[in-house]
């Protein structure tokens, strides 16, 4: 599908972010190999792709968990209690911001306003919006995701 689009495109570099997103979806993150693969698809140098991948929030150059939590740290969410929620999430997951849980399930990252200020404090998990958050709701959400993961992972 993407390769057809690339062939049809007058300007293949236009698709570079889409391609990186798709490759990331497949491998989980953009390893050096994944980046090279994406680069070859659009006919650009891997160093150029690296520049892009490090520029954008939603492209990951480091391994991430199955669920990537982006907690909004912008003004409305901050006014509505971002800091205690962040501390709660860190404590619950046993990690600091920017880290991934040892079981590979969750990565916790900050993000600037995600445009869900009407539901603040808010976060995105794999691009799905959650809010308004409380520590109880966070516990519930993590629980749901944990059992979802347990059900879908062959043991």
């Amino acid at each position: 599908m993407l390769s057809q689009q690339i062939q049809a495109s007058k300007h293949p570099p236009e698709l570079v972010v889409d391609v990186m997103m798709a490759v990331q979806e497949h491998y989980g993150y953009l390893s050096d190999e994944a980046l090279e693969e994406a680069a070859a698809m659009v006919g650009m140098a891997p160093t150029k792709l690296d520049e892009l991948a490090t520029f954008y929030t939603f492209l990951y150059r480091e391994p991430v968990g199955r669920y990537v939590i982006h907690l909004c740290d912008s003004v409305i969410c901050w006014m509505d209690g971002y800091e205690p929620l962040r501390d709660h999430l860190c404590k619950k997951l046993g990690i600091q911001m920017g880290e991934t849980t040892p079981d590979g399930l969750f990565t916790l990252l900050p993000v600037c306003c995600i445009g869900y200020c009407d539901r603040s404090p808010a976060m995105l998990i794999n691009k799905k919006a959650y809010g308004p958050l409380t520590s109880e709701k966070i516990d519930e959400i993590l629980e749901t995701l944990r059992s979802e993961a347990a059900e879908t992972t062959p043991s």
């Binding site: 972010v17 939603f58 912008s74 003004v75 445009g115 200020c117 009407d118």
Partner: protein, 615 residues
């Protein structure tokens, strides 16, 4: 599907509206915006569908999932159409009662109606609720009334009539003239006259030109564009087709942030549906005019909302601004003449073409015409999306539409234009919504985020917070912005930490002038605004931090003692119950004491104490 011609569109519209008028079907309009999804509207929708089926009411009631209703604080929301009864904060459990009492017994379900916080009375009809009665929906005219995923719903409400008129009856110059007459100014923040922008691009000679829509909406506190795309995506598409005809472009892109999956999904469906009906692609409505539209997903970088950065980003480069000129109207995307407009700007266009520029300009002030959509949030009762005529007062937005400040707190300021906008204090709340009047009081209209702050907000801390954001989002390309914002932040942190001196305040003001004059793009040029505008109105708070080492709003942790004032403490125990670190020592009828060894300085007790007894 059959491609529509002009006559075909008219016939379809007529048939759809006749069907709607003749059918004795009430509509149950349920909000399906992202906000309501998050609070469970899908479950409510399923429950209603199920209950209606069970009660055998399917031929009397049609369940419609609409885009954002706007009154997000009350979601999930159901409006029974056409009578307009408004039910709020629905849960799936409420559905059987609702169906029985309202749909079968014909009574209002009192406990689910809106309750006016001032009069404590229940208000059954949406139009009577103050939040709605002070608004003027134009851009949002279909909000909550149509299923955004149904092109027929849109066509029934005059959809694609503006496009038909522009493509079949108007010359490009006439379109531009109409938009100029309307006085429409860019809604993305800068307020540049839209007609003029189009005129520049139309006069640039080139075979290839582009029409771009900015749906990157990065300003903290802004969610207008998301809601427009979620509620009425075809309106934006129409605006882009009409713009394309005006400048003679045949390719467009919507640059949408990846954080908005629902908006992107609905927009994509709208594009596909339009294409299937011959309203997009080759020979639109048999007019001979071709236009293709694609969505470009941004991967998360605030600065990509800036026009030159956005174009570079589409080209597959790092989204960094470049100096202008050349202006995009001459050399934009792929060096071709390009116009970029904001989502809301485009969403106005079809109505301007259909009803005329003069109709549009009949509302508003001398230099700001039409309506403006705002996203109100922060310390305000009615968080949500509103549309008011230009010239309405900020006070009206905060108090009449916004319902005032919660918890009986006092209003302190509103921030307009996001972090790099400015704050407006109580004494200027009567300022009308008008590009130039707002600048006079030291803020900017911005894209429409209205952040309301109550008395517990420390303005120095707020400036520090905004500067932190701007510094983070500075792309680092130009030195004034990169170094200037870093220096600003250091000084503000110093003041918040209680280590500031008067000379630091002077230094802030001096640096503000330099960065404004030397930065490359709007981000740097406006970076000093949070400092300048808080200094302008709240200099006393800066001075309290510097001279008395005191934070009047009690937000700056390093200036607080974390001690209970025994004279003010009423021994209520609220702080004891709230403290997450068990650092409050309290027994019934005894005044509280904070154990500083255990205290983690989280400020929870400050927020809970109703008697201002903690210092």
């Amino acid at each position: 599907m059959e491609k529509l011609t002009f006559e075909g569109l008219q016939q379809r519209q007529k048939a759809l509206s006749e069907k709607a008028a003749s059918a004795h079907v009430s509509q149950l309009l349920i909000c399906g915006g992202t906000g309501c999804h998050a609070t469970g509207s899908i479950k409510v929708i399923d429950a209603i569908r199920e209950e209606i089926r069970k009660q055998g009411l399917t031929d009397k009631y049609e369940v419609v999932e609409t885009g954002c209703n706007g009154f997000c604080a009350m979601g999930p929301i159901l409006v029974v159409h056409p009578e307009g009864v408004f039910y709020q904060k629905l849960k799936a459990d409420d559905v059987p009662t609702l169906v029985q009492e309202h749909l079968i017994d014909g009574k209002h379900v009192e406990k689910l109606l809106y309750k006016d916080p001032n009069t404590k009375k229940r208000i059954p009809l949406q139009d009577d609720i103050p939040f709605f009665s002070h608004q003027m929906p134009r851009v949002l005219r279909n909000k909550g009334l149509i299923d955004p995923e149904s092109i027929d719903d849109y066509i029934r409400r005059d959809g694609y009539q503006g496009t038909a008129k522009a493509l079949l009856e108007m010359a490009p110059e006439e379109i531009i003239a109409e938009v100029k007459t309307s006085g429409l100014r860019g809604r993305g923040g800068a307020g540049f006259p839209t007609g003029l922008k189009w005129e520049f691009a139309s006069k640039s000679p080139s075979e290839v030109k582009f029409v771009l829509c900015n749906a990157d909406e990065g300003d903290p506190g802004a969610f207008m564009d998301r809601s427009i795309l979620e509620a009425d995506p075809h309106a934006v598409i129409e605006g882009m087709i009409i713009a394309a005809k005006a400048i003679n472009a045949h390719q467009g892109y919507v640059y949408a942030r990846t954080e908005y999956p629902l908006a992107i999904k609905r927009l994509q469906k709208a594009i596909d549906d339009a294409r299937a009906m011959g309203l997009m692609g080759e020979n639109i409505l048999g007019s001979g005019f071709d236009f293709e539209l694609e969505i470009y997903q941004g991967a998360g970088a605030f600065v990509c909302g800036e026009e030159t950065a956005l174009m570079r980003s589409i080209e597959g480069k790092r989204g960094m601004p470049r100096p202008r000129p050349p202006f995009p109207a001459h050399k934009g995307l792929w060096e071709k003449p390009t116009i970029l407009n904001n989502v809301e700007s485009f969403a106005n266009v079809a109505q301007i073409i259909l009803n005329g520029g003069e109709w549009y300009a009949s509302v508003g002030t001398e230099k700001s015409k039409g309506t403006k959509v705002f996203a109100i949030s922060g310390d305000v009762n009615n968080i949500g999306l509103v549309e008011v005529p230009m010239g309405a007062s900020l006070r009206g937005i905060v108090y009449d539409v916004g319902g005032g400040i919660p918890k009986k707190k006092k209003f302190k300021a509103v921030q307009l234009g996001g972090p790099s906008g400015g704050c407006i204090p109580e004494q200027y709340l009567d300022t009308p919504v008008d590009y130039d009047e707002i600048v006079k009081v030291g803020a900017i209209m911005g894209s429409g985020g209205v952040i309301v702050m109550d008395e517990d907000t420390c303005m120095v801390d707020m400036a520090r917070f905004f500067m932190d954001f701007i510094q983070d989002e500075s792309c680092g390309k130009c030195t004034p912005c990169r170094e200037g914002t870093r220096r600003f932040l250091q000084l503000l942190e110093k003041i918040c930490d209680g280590k500031g001196e008067l000379a630091d305040i002077d230094a802030l003001e001096e640096m503000a002038v330099v960065i404004k004059e030397t930065a490359l793009c709007g981000l740097g040029q406006t970076a000093a605004n949070p400092v300048l505008s808080t200094l302008r109105y709240f200099r006393d708070e800066y001075e309290a931090h510097v001279l008395e080492k005191r934070c009047p709003a009690k937000r700056c942790v390093n200036l607080l003692k974390f001690e209970v004032d025994p004279d003010k403490c009423t021994a209520c125990g609220m702080c004891f119950k709230a403290c997450p670190a068990d650092a409050v020592i309290w027994k019934k009828k005894e005044k509280a004491v904070i154990d500083k060894e255990k205290c983690v300085k989280c400020l929870t007790c400050f927020a809970k104490c109703k008697f201002d007894a903690i210092n």
